[in-house]
């Protein structure tokens, strides 16, 4: 009886797992179908002939590869900045004493409760006035400072035992030295968590790029996909191949760091 129950649960679990990844499988598969088979009758689950031309054409398309490249470079710079700017602040709030500490802390935390939607248009006006439209800077800089990530890192730093620093203090290390040589190396788990979230947020973003970028040399990958979809509405095989390629970096990132990510759900401290 117990065994039957276990088997049923296992089958149900695997079924849900497969349904969860099916849309991605279906997308990648459609990219291999010839134009005549991707939609229409008779319905074909697998392509009769595996057609590599869609993926091939995209790999040779300057616009598509450039868009992937520009987004990738932006996402890397963005991620590094997010980690440094927020971890420095997190360290200051966790370990240093200075006048107006509480005021500054509340000032930073307060921004967590301002939804991006409420300030979307005034943010656009600000970056327009700063002459930042159509630059990589406009995509990167506005999102770097993040109260949520700062708070997450600060919680992590508060959990590091003070004894670790004592030896360094006796050796006359500066506060920045302690951050640099003791805190940074210990931060890997929280940096991975914040870093992946930031990279994904940048890579997957749509509304900010379509508002601030009209120069097609700087088109972000999701922007490129969305425009391509509406311009070439019938080229389904090509659109699916493009979506697959745009999703691959995020899936690779997940595959490499999945241990950290699944562990990280506990680390984010929602309890």
């Amino acid at each position: 009886m117990k065994k039957i129950k276990k088997t049923i649960l296992t089958i149900a679990g695997l079924l849900v797992a497969l349904i969860s990844i099916f849309p991605l499988f279906w997308m990648a598969l459609a990219g291999f179908k010839p134009k005549t088979e991707v939609l229409g009758y008779p319905f074909k689950f697998f392509p009769t002939v595996w057609d590599f031309s869609n993926y091939n054409e995209l790999l040779h398309s300057t616009e598509f590869i450039r868009s992937m490249g520009v987004t990738f470079v932006g996402a890397i710079i963005f991620t590094i900045l997010v980690i440094f700017v927020n971890s420095m602040a997190a360290y200051s709030f966790a370990r240093l004493n200075f006048p107006y500490k509480n005021v500054l802390f509340i000032y930073v935390i307060m921004t967590m409760f301002i939804p991006s939607m409420a300030i979307l248009i005034p943010s656009y006006i600000v970056v327009a006035k700063l002459k930042m439209l159509n630059t990589l800077t406009v995509l990167i800089l506005p999102g770097v400072a993040s109260a949520v990530n700062m708070f997450l890192m600060r919680q992590f730093y508060l959990g590091i035992p003070k004894e670790l620093e004592e030896a360094a203090v006796i050796d006359g290390a500066t506060k920045f030295g302690i951050y640099r040589h003791i805190f940074l190396p210990l931060s890997v788990p929280v940096f991975v968590l914040v870093g992946i979230g930031s990279f994904l947020g940048f890579w997957n973003s749509l509304i900010w790029p379509i508002m601030t970028i009209s120069d097609e040399r700087l088109y972000q990958i999701m922007q490129t996909l969305a425009y391509f979809r509406s311009a070439q509405a019938t080229e389904w095989a090509m659109i699916m191949a493009g979506s697959t390629m745009a999703a691959i970096p995020t899936i690779i990132l997940f595959a490499v760091f999945q241990k950290y990510l699944i562990e990280g759900i506990k680390l984010s401290g929602i309890k």
Partner: protein
């Protein structure tokens, strides 16, 4: 000596805080203050602004389209979050009963959609929903029905864009709840079993009350996130048909694109922000007080 050291620490602290404070000021606080300021003006890029008092707000509050967008956002959230939450809660229990190996595979698979963008999800589901030979209509045809215009019919459009939202969020929600369940000591369940509790009893009397905070987090964050959905509505339907999928964020964006006077749009965004804030505060109180009564 000690004093100079302290002074140095202070300097270090301020230098390390300068980037975050500066960036937040320029890109969050100033835009917010500016939004409040502009909401009292008739403002455009091309003209001098005129002070108009509360008339922008009145204009928004008299606009049927604004209420419709708000209502669409709420409906969307009320379709997505309850389904996602109940499914995730049940499935988290299921995963707990799997062997480590199968459980690991299942957890990995359901996490993957979490890294997928709204744009990719939109495109995949548009393809699946396609009227002429999409997978969904192929399945419909097996039952002998006529194809369904999932995204073009007012009856189906909002439900159809909800499905990818559920798909994107289901796995991650499950894993958060699972992490909470794993924190509950097994002895609680064992004690309940000795008292003759079945699976359902254990869920209701042990898991639910102990995971109050996790649920609160998942539901409030889920609802406020869903109301602000943009990507799915923008790519899949662009708000149509007949504005039936015009979510609040898309409403704001559409106005931004078409209306040179920013005062109205900015006032609408601020009002939505207040309304969403009130809703999440109410939700918070509602769920919280219910737990206390138990």
């Amino acid at each position: 000596m000690n004093n100079t050291l302290k002074k140095n620490d202070m300097k270090t602290a301020y230098i390390m805080l300068l980037p975050i404070v500066g960036l937040l000021t320029v890109f969050v606080v100033i835009p917010l203050l500016y939004a409040i300021f502009v909401s009292f003006y008739q403002w455009s890029f091309y003209q001098d602004s005129i002070f108009v008092g509360f008339s922008n707000y009145l204009l928004v509050l008299k606009d049927q389209a604004f209420y419709k967008a708000m209502w669409t956002g709420i409906k969307f959230a009320l379709i997505v979050i309850p389904i996602q939450f109940v499914a995730a809660f049940l499935f988290a229990h299921l995963i707990k009963n799997l062997t480590a190996k199968v459980g690991g595979f299942v957890k990995t698979s359901i996490y993957i959609p979490h890294v997928i963008s709204g744009v990719v999800a939109s495109i995949v589901f548009m393809f699946i929903y396609n009227y002429n030979g999409g997978l969904a209509n192929y399945i419909v045809s097996l039952f002998g029905s006529e194809p369904i215009p999932f995204l073009a019919d007012v009856k189906y459009a909002l439900g159809s864009i909800s499905l990818p939202a559920i798909w994107l969020g289901f796995g991650f929600t499950t894993l958060i709840i699972l992490a909470g369940i794993n924190d509950i000591p097994d002895s609680y369940y064992e004690a309940a079993e000795i008292d003759g509790a079945n699976t359902f009893h254990k869920m209701i009397f042990i898991t639910l009350p102990l995971l109050k905070n996790v649920f609160l987090y998942v539901i409030v964050v889920g609802l406020t996130g869903a109301i602000q959905q943009f990507d799915l509505a923008y790519v899949m339907t662009n708000g149509g048909p007949l504005n039936s999928t015009m979510t609040p964020n898309l409403f704001i964006y559409t106005h931004f694109k078409n209306d040179p006077y920013m005062g109205y749009t900015i006032s609408a965004a601020l009002l939505l922000f207040v309304i969403i804030g009130v809703i999440s505060a109410l939700m918070f109180r509602l769920i919280n007080s219910k737990q206390v009564e138990d």
